[in-house]
């Protein structure tokens, strides 16, 4: 049976892993390769590396650290940040990344999703969606890596997700911005209808703070995985204990 995935996310800034609160105030939490290796050894099912300022600084991810990660870890990983073209994606995939994730560039040029899927296969193409709730409605935001440049994209989350799927994405990471970094639990109210309707895997992001939050998102929504950053970086939760807890709660996870 297919297992629910636990996905530590490493936000990368200048070759270091950082963590901000509500996408602001970044603090350094460690070296990329050291942390990647640690999570891999502890039973992470997959890793995501976000070069958080690549898009807002108009540059692509530096592929040198991608190769270093590929050399040392034997689980899948996804790289995000500033990928705007087939060439950008090819460089990163050639360095050993399994997937590339696009966010702001997909909003500017939705055709990019289609082109990437046709060239590399649907399974390589992840689309990140930063969604913000205002008065009960969900809106897509872009350039969220930089507080000064963050702005509404002018589209509603549900409509955008439908388009992303229609254009051939292989997976969507839905980051619920209201919950991000505050550890009050995943936004199951938003994620449940999205995952219910989606024909591709949906990954929950934003809000994990306790073991119970992971249980809740897997029990109350049909997401395929749950992504979290600060709870792992700050050792608030321990990956092997999280998986043990979920297994005891009858949630299908890969044993560590």
């Amino acid at each position: 049976m297919l297992k629910q995935r636990i996905i530590p996310c490493l936000d990368v800034l200048d070759d270091k892993v950082v963590k901000g609160v509500a996408f602001k105030q970044h603090e350094i939490v460690g070296d990329i390769v050291t942390l990647a290796q640690k999570y891999c050894d502890e039973g992470a099912d997959e890793l995501v590396f976000y070069d958080i300022t690549a898009s807002s600084e108009q540059r692509v991810v530096k592929s040198t650290w991608v190769k270093k990660i590929s050399d040392c870890i034997d689980i899948p990983f996804c790289v995000a940040g500033g990928i705007k073209s087939i060439d950008d994606a090819e460089k990163i995939l050639a360095q050993g990344a399994d997937k590339i994730s696009i966010n702001s560039p997909a909003i500017e040029n939705p055709q990019l999703i289609t082109e990437l899927a046709q060239r590399f296969g649907q399974q390589c193409v992840v689309v990140g969606v930063d969604s913000f709730e205002q008065a009960g409605e969900y809106f897509v935001y872009q350039y969220t890596g930089d507080a000064a440049k963050t702005r509404p994209a002018g589209i509603k989350t549900f409509a955008w997700i439908e388009e992303v799927i229609a254009r051939g994405a292989g997976e969507i990471v839905v980051n619920c911005m209201n919950q991000d970094g505050v550890r009050r639990g995943y936004d199951v109210r938003q994620l449940a209808p999205i995952a219910e309707q989606a024909s591709i895997p949906i990954i929950a992001s934003g809000g994990a703070g306790t073991y119970e939050h992971f249980k809740q998102v897997f029990e109350e929504t049909k997401v395929s995985g749950a992504l979290a950053a600060s709870v792992f970086h700050k050792n608030l939760l321990n990956l092997p204990q999280l998986k043990q807890y979920l297994a005891e709660q009858s949630i299908k996870v890969r044993p560590c």
Binding site: L2, C40, D74, I75, D98, Q123, I200, G225
Partner: protein, 201 residues
């Protein structure tokens, strides 16, 4: 000493396979050179991407007959497994036809691609699978899958309908999952593959 030729077939996971072999201390070369492929002790046929594109690459490089006539152990990974089959629904394309099975879109699953860690429903005994149990999870990511068949299927996985996760015909093996991305159990499978010698098949 084993020496692995990783066939450059137009996908993009060569690097991951090569580093996985390097971690195991096994020398390899990413190549489309006929002589290099024929002289290797083991051959890996990788593949990520579209079936049609990968077959086109093999045709353009004149590798179709070369691969079909290999006598050493060959391991197709992911799309590589599908390339060993007869036909793929993905682009309606004829494959290498080494294993006479068809590759079809995953059916009866509400979410496609099949992406993540999954285990085997059934697992046969084979030197490739020494020390591996049906409960072990491997990393899968695919939207198309090969039918099951009593003669060729070594491992069945269930996602929607059951499909062939591990195939074998003579010296040709195929795995639908990514051993190079499947942690310790994936490393065990790659190690097993390398210890299979052509003479025993």
């Amino acid at each position: 000493m084993p020496y692995v030729a990783i066939i450059e077939s137009g996908g993009s996971n060569f690097m991951s396979i090569q580093v996985a072999l390097t971690r195991l201390g096994i020398a390899s070369n990413i190549t489309s050179d006929v002589e290099c492929i024929q002289q290797a002790s083991h051959v890996i046929l990788p593949g990520v991407g579209m079936a049609q594109y990968a077959m086109q690459q093999l045709c353009e490089k004149n590798l179709v007959d070369i691969i079909k006539n290999l006598r050493q152990p060959v391991l197709g990974i992911c799309l590589g497994l599908q390339l060993l089959c007869r036909y793929s629904e993905e682009g309606n394309v004829a494959m290498l036809n080494i294993i006479p099975l068809d590759v079809k879109k995953i059916k009866n699953a509400s979410i496609v691609p099949h992406m993540g860690w999954n285990n085997m429903e059934t697992l046969q005994q084979d030197p490739l699978l020494s020390g591996i149990n049906a409960a072990d999870d491997f990393y899968f990511v695919h939207s198309f899958a090969a039918d099951t068949n009593a003669d060729y299927t070594l491992g069945t996985c269930q996602y929607g309908n059951p499909f062939s996760a591990i195939l074998r015909k003579d010296n040709f093996y195929g795995v639908q999952f990514h051993p190079e991305k499947s942690g310790k159990v994936g490393a065990t499978l790659l190690k097993n593959f390398i210890t299979i010698s052509g003479d025993r098949l």
